[in-house]
Subunit: 357 residues, 2 copies
Amino acid sequence: MRPDEDIPVRIGRLLAFAEALLRTQGAPPADAALTARFLLEADLRGVESHGMAHLVDFYLRRLQQGQIKARPNIRVTSDAPAAATIDADNGLGFVAGHLAMQLAIEKARATGAGWVACGNSTHYGAGAAYAMMALEQGMIGFSLSTGGRLMTPPGGRGRALGLNVLAVAAPTPRGFPYVLDMATSVVAHGKLEIAARRGEAIPEGWAIDPEGRPITDPARFRPDGLMLPLGGSAALGAFKGFGLALMVDILSGALSGFGTSAEIEAGRIAAHCFGALRIDAFVPIEQYMEGMGTMIDAIKRTPTADGSEVRIPGELEHALSERRRANGAVPLHRSILAGYRAAAEELRVPYDLEEVS
Amino acid sequence: MRPDEDIPVRIGRLLAFAEALLRTQGAPPADAALTARFLLEADLRGVESHGMAHLVDFYLRRLQQGQIKARPNIRVTSDAPAAATIDADNGLGFVAGHLAMQLAIEKARATGAGWVACGNSTHYGAGAAYAMMALEQGMIGFSLSTGGRLMTPPGGRGRALGLNVLAVAAPTPRGFPYVLDMATSVVAHGKLEIAARRGEAIPEGWAIDPEGRPITDPARFRPDGLMLPLGGSAALGAFKGFGLALMVDILSGALSGFGTSAEIEAGRIAAHCFGALRIDAFVPIEQYMEGMGTMIDAIKRTPTADGSEVRIPGELEHALSERRRANGAVPLHRSILAGYRAAAEELRVPYDLEEVS
């Protein structure tokens, strides 16, 4: 990390800038605002790999090139009391994802559980934000999505399936929610991009080349590097990461009927699946909260190698998000802002992100 | 593996023997038959760690000692159209688990999705068998369970949470179902037991001692060894295995209201969660099957290091199960049969498992 390469950017200005850029491509104001908000949420939580860094190079460019439709006709193609499918019509994944998770929550309110598959969609950013929509409803939320086809099966030497992701969010009584947001590979591809941007090496065990040799220079990942499934090697459980990646593909691509990461164009089209379980359909919420509190406290009592406190997934992200919200700013890398300036000039959008005060 | 230590045992005799043993402790005939069948299924699929090997030393002994109730009063404590909770009343986990998965399937038939949390239960064997109950209903099945408290969080030096397991089953058009059945640790504890029984070393990366040193002699795991979460080290994603273990605990222990692995007595009480998604509530089953076939074929075309074919989770287990069913026998280790003989004598149950023909 070289913090001197990061520039603090005011949240309000960043949202307005992102909305303005997206609207130049015909995105309806509400859709542009929703997309900007989801991208910001990732940066607030420190998930630099899935936030505003891709506003221009990914989302804006794909809207410009027509690879993402600015005004899609999103439709519910199947509807049951606790299950539904949505055709995102190749629009922004944020918009379809938000709608699908809302539908899952409505169904869970009525029946106790709601699951919505969503296909023909595009990259929806960080999965956590959708799963977290369940939290204030007294529900546990799930968000799964196919990712770009960059993962090899255990023992494989080819890009066979997506860096599929799984996010789960559950309320706790300890001031932060439990939020797991994970690629089913050893690491998300964004971690390589960050290392490349910062000129840093990556650990052995993240990726291999087509001959099976470890890749430690992130620049060597293109064009044919392979991300390893969580577990890494066969002896250490790589079939589990592989199996989880397939689970995501089955629930997203096969269950929506719009295709899995093995067949859809890598990184262009995506499929998702959203779930919500209403806690008080299972157990009184107070009883659930008591169990969660007991669990968290017990885990935090575990001794550690360096004396530090065990952190629950989502705990540090929540604390960071609260701090950044209070400061009213998120850091963006210089190279991202350079891309913003160029896009602002190209599209005649006012650019004021680097002004002080 | 030393195959000479394994004795082939006729399936019919093994089932009858297991049922007879369980009935000596007051288990109703249907419950004894169901338990024997679930244990056998694990052995048929080659999951030696979760099958008949534990019939005497675990299930029978706990029934004898009253740690598992032979005649529990299993009750549905909460019931919504797509969600329910079951109190297993400390009975055999197989019986409560089977009932809970049946209920999840009924709900999915009616609403598209069904989720059933189940607490106050005991060890339910291999999770796959419950998830697989969904297959012939045209559904995707899920089965989660807490396990014994043997896992350390990343960077931790204490037994903080269970070796929680996750199983998922989905139909495919390629002659075998997709079946993922995984502990959220690097390996299941049963793998250590098997290595110990066979006098073999275990790889570095499975377990550590309380000082953080790798354990490679499985005999050294007791009394205070620590299983590592899937991912192994922080740099290779151990927070993911840890996060998945917590997810299982939340959906099983907290959602049922009967306690998570962090608080319930290690290995004695267990909580589960079962789910079913009815495929045709989302998409016509033919369309789902087409997507699954395309995905499997694409993955199998991936080149591999040694030229072997990539296997889908559940594929080899299915093939093995078919072979063993056709042969009418499963192999059991000599030491297991020695335990059977002793129990048969103690409880005056006829023992004919080693007779030829």
